[in-house]
């Protein structure tokens, strides 16, 4: 149990944690293995087990072992943040091989999840399981429940308007597969979420449904305690960094929305352009049938326009499948970031309210009551976790957008290169002098 009066709001999460005296101070690797599975409702208690979160028993009791506080382990975070090039990465997850299943009650798609890991939490070095969308949805809900102070990556949209989109078309399935792959990779990259019990089971269990049923009864009490922070507490003042992020996210989401609309509009215009091109090319063919000496040149132009049309179609398909979904995903991502920020506000508000209540009481206690301390810790841990996640999110965002926009530029370059090649190749044909007939 940590003693002393509650500290002020930590300005930088990880550093202040390092500074805080820890009763069981020691390096993470020395910590108890396989550990104490008795969940502690007390955040402080859980924190005292330090970096225990690194070692998750495989298939152990799902409840409580992954606690928010323990997630703020600096060592772990630093380790994983540094290996962007994957040199020291020890967990690899891929989503591929979509397959359609036709059953009496329903038809659905499953995806193969391949996991390769040297982590101790995994009994085997490699796993291959099949999961469907609702399994991903379940996983995300579980993560939100069990890691409420963390930002959970978004999933592609659950519902599709039947009749408008073909749920089983190759394009739709492929787009979804990519998004699901991205989802799991983001979790894999996260120093805390990747060690989550539910995540582990998702990757490894043969029968996920059985596990799901089992898990329903037990709820993360820590999670619950945070979840049960109801509204109604007014926030005094939001720490600058969170206020700034809130504002940033508002504008960011707006700009993304605008970009989404522009991109859609461009695709629409390009498709209409394509429709006209498809009528334009053949007219040259019709004309060439009337002519003698001009037959080949006109036919050549017709074929050329046909090639450009094909290239344009490829461009619009690519943009629809690769660009728009990723953009939308980020809008969802910033939405979930905002709701986590709101939760954080609530935690802070609750703490402040309780603190105020205590101050108003004429009691002369030297110590702050335990529940207020708990609130404070909750808030501080939340702040720390969130701050870390925000930084990670900003970095990833930068990488992701860099890649996305470079990809968009690339696709356009390829389109023009294809057209250029087509037109350059018919110049010699057009310049050819026909032999006297």
């Amino acid at each position: 149990m940590s003693g002393g009066p509650p500290k002020g709001l930590p300005s930088t999460g990880p550093h202040s944690l390092l500074d805080m005296p820890h009763p069981l101070a020691g390096s993470s690797s020395e910590e108890a293995v396989g550990g104490d599975s008795t969940p502690s409702p007390d955040l402080l208690m859980a924190r005292s087990f330090g970096d225990k979160d690194l070692i998750l028993p495989n298939g152990g009791t799902p409840a409580g072992t992954s606690s928010p506080a323990s997630s703020s382990s600096l060592l772990n975070r630093l380790q994983l943040d540094d290996d962007i090039d994957g040199e020291t990465r020890d967990l690899f997850v891929t989503v591929d091989d979509p397959k359609k299943h036709v059953c009496t009650m329903e038809t659905y798609i499953t995806y193969r999840i391949t996991t390769k890991s040297t982590r101790v939490e995994f009994d085997l070095p490699e796993y291959s399981v099949r999961r469907r969308y609702q399994d991903f949805d379940w996983l995300r809900n579980k993560l939100e429940e069990s890691q409420p102070t963390h930002l959970i990556p978004p999933l592609p949209e659950k519902f599709v308007v039947k009749g408008v989109v073909d749920r089983f078309s190759e394009e739709f399935v492929e787009t979804r597969r990519k998004a699901l792959d991205k989802f799991l990779k983001r979790i894999t990259d996260h120093p805390v979420l990747s060690f989550n019990e539910h995540f582990n089971v998702f990757l490894t269990a043969k029968d996920l449904n059985a596990y799901k049923k089992q898990g329903m009864a037990l709820l993360t009490r820590v999670g619950e305690s945070v979840k049960h922070v109801t509204g109604g507490y007014k926030l005094r003042s939001r720490p600058l960094e969170f206020a700034a992020v809130g504002d940033y996210l508002d504008t960011f989401a707006l700009k993304l929305g605008t970009i989404d609309r522009i991109a859609q509009r461009i695709i629409k215009e390009e498709i209409e352009y394509l429709v006209e091109l498809r009528e334009y090319g053949p007219v040259y063919s019709t004309w060439s049938a009337l002519e003698g000496e001009l037959t080949e040149p006109l036919e050549g132009v017709s074929a050329c326009i046909g090639n450009c049309s094909t290239a344009l179609e490829e461009l619009t398909d690519d943009m629809t499948e690769d660009f728009l979904p990723v953009l939308r995903e980020y809008i969802l991502y910033s939405d979930s970031m905002k709701s986590v920020l709101k939760k954080r506000d609530q935690v802070q508000a609750e703490y402040e309210a309780k603190l105020e209540a205590v101050a108003l009481r004429k009691e002369d206690r030297p110590k702050v009551p335990a529940d207020v301390e708990r609130c404070q810790d909750r808030m501080e841990c939340f702040n720390a976790d969130l701050k870390a996640d925000m930084e990670r999110w900003q970095n990833n965002k930068r990488q992701d957008f860099r890649q996305l926009l470079m990809g968009m530029a690339d696709k356009n370059i390829q389109y023009y290169e294809k057209c250029l090649m087509a037109w350059e190749s018919i110049i010699p044909l057009l310049q050819e002098k026909q032999e006297a007939k």
């Binding site: 700009k255 970009i259 461009i266 215009e269 091109l277 009528e279 009337l290 040149p297 110049i427 057009l430």
Partner: protein
């Protein structure tokens, strides 16, 4: 004037004039084997000016006048001397062309640029007073004059010469030729069919070809205008990226610069379409010229058709007169005639009356035979000359259209290269994000 004295009363002696004018004219020196003329002539329609005046009904009107400058070029040193300079309006060009159509029915007469803007894509104005339209018309009129000047036969025409040299009184001079009277009003009825018993197969095929050509080029121009419209839309919407990237860069730290500069390239991309489509209009104009040329080709076929029809009618008339004559002479009535009927009803005519009639008929027959002979000759001359010009036209058409297609391909290549450049620049900016 410095060159050999020219008598405006005579037909011009010189050989075809090599066009040295505007590069947009897209003409090659034609008929070089006949080029014995030492001094080349340059024709420019160099300016267009808005004017107001009073029309035939004394109402005020606004029109555009075009300045035509003719220069003779010294062969040895290439220096040009301005010989003539005058202003003409579109209606005077029309008058010139209508005159040429009547006096040279066997020639595929070069067409004028369109009277009203057609096949426009939305950004292009359909207004005749619009400066872009006026500019394109100026080029088209110059092209027309160069076409006429480089035609081996048309270039020698006196009225054409006067068009370039005599500003005042030219209209009266043209009208004095009485060409309007000579014009066959039947030609105006474009779709009226004249049942020709022995049509010339070549002309029938040619007429069919000109119809098809008109149809396909019209279609092509219509779709091209729609394509231009759509392409314009695609490029312009990209301009919105410029603004939003700029706004977004304001809230970013490391990403800001890259976004901002990429946005600039998107603006460049969006604005590049204006020049691209303006260039494409020249291609459309080249196609339009041949759309109208197809009409001129059809006109030649039509005139031949009419000629043939007249010939057949004349031959038919002659044959029936001959028959009548024979019947009168022999007394047998094989053909129905009103005279025959009345004779039956009211009694036989006197031998003197019959003799008189036979004499009239014989005169008519003799006249008719002369006419038929000359018509036949005329017809054969027409076919020979027309076919010569048609062959010339075919070569010109094949050459010009090939050139047009090449220049179109070059335009497309340039557009693709610009696109690659812009997106490569944008990609580099994104990479710095």
């Amino acid at each position: 004037m410095e060159q050999a004295p020219r008598d405006p009363e005579r037909q011009l002696q010189p050989a075809p004039l090599e066009p040295l004018g505007h590069p947009d004219a897209g003409l090659q020196a034609a008929m070089t084997e006949n080029n014995f003329w030492l001094k080349k002539i340059e024709i420019n329609v160099s300016e267009a000016e808005k004017r107001t005046g009073r029309n035939a009904m004394n109402m005020q009107e606004t029109y555009t006048a075009y300045l035509i400058e003719t220069r003779s070029v010294e062969h040895t040193d290439g220096q040009s001397v301005l010989t003539d300079s005058l202003w003409r309006r579109y209606s005077e060009f029309e008058l010139l062309r209508n005159y040429l159509l009547v006096y040279y029915p066997h020639i595929v007469v070069p067409p004028l640029p369109e009277k009203r803007a057609e096949f426009v894509w939305h950004k292009l104005s359909a207004d005749n007073m619009d400066p872009d339209f006026v500019e394109r018309r100026r080029i088209g009129l110059e092209n027309f004059l160069l076409r006429v000047a480089s035609h081996p036969i048309l270039c020698r025409d006196k009225i054409f010469y006067l068009f370039l040299t005599q500003e005042g009184n030219w209209k009266e001079t043209v009208n004095e030729t009485g060409f309007q009277l000579k014009a066959d009003s039947r030609l105006k009825a474009l779709n009226a069919t004249f049942r020709v018993k022995n049509p010339d197969k070549r002309f029938t095929e040619l007429k069919h070809y000109s119809d098809e050509l008109q149809s396909v080029i019209s279609h092509l121009l219509r779709v091209r205008a729609r394509v231009a419209d759509r392409l314009y839309g695609v490029y312009k919407v990209h301009g919105n990226y410029g603004r939003v990237f700029s706004e977004w860069s304001a809230i970013e730290k490391e990403m800001g610069d890259g976004l901002q500069s990429a946005g600039h390239h998107m603006d460049v991309y969006a604005s590049s379409i204006d020049d691209i489509l303006e260039d494409e209009e020249h291609y459309a104009d080249q196609l339009k010229e041949y759309l109208f040329y197809a009409e001129a080709l059809r006109a030649v076929c039509r005139k031949h058709e009419l000629m043939q029809y007249d010939l057949e009618m004349a031959a038919q008339d002659l044959a029936s007169k001959k028959q009548q004559c024979e019947e009168l002479a022999t007394g047998t009535v094989r053909t129905f005639s009103l005279k025959g009927m009345t004779t039956k009803l009211f009694g036989q005519e006197t031998p003197e009356q019959r003799e008189a009639r036979i004499k009239v008929l014989e005169e008519q027959i003799s006249e008719g035979e002369q006419q038929l002979k000359s018509k036949n000759l005329e017809g054969r001359e027409f076919v020979k000359n027309a076919w010569a010009d048609i062959e010339r036209f075919k070569e010109q058409k094949n050459h010009d259209l090939k050139e047009a297609l090449i220049s179109y391909a070059v335009m497309q290549i340039s557009m693709c290269k610009k696109g690659i450049q812009v997106w490569t620049n944008a990609k580099e900016c994104f990479s710095k994000m």
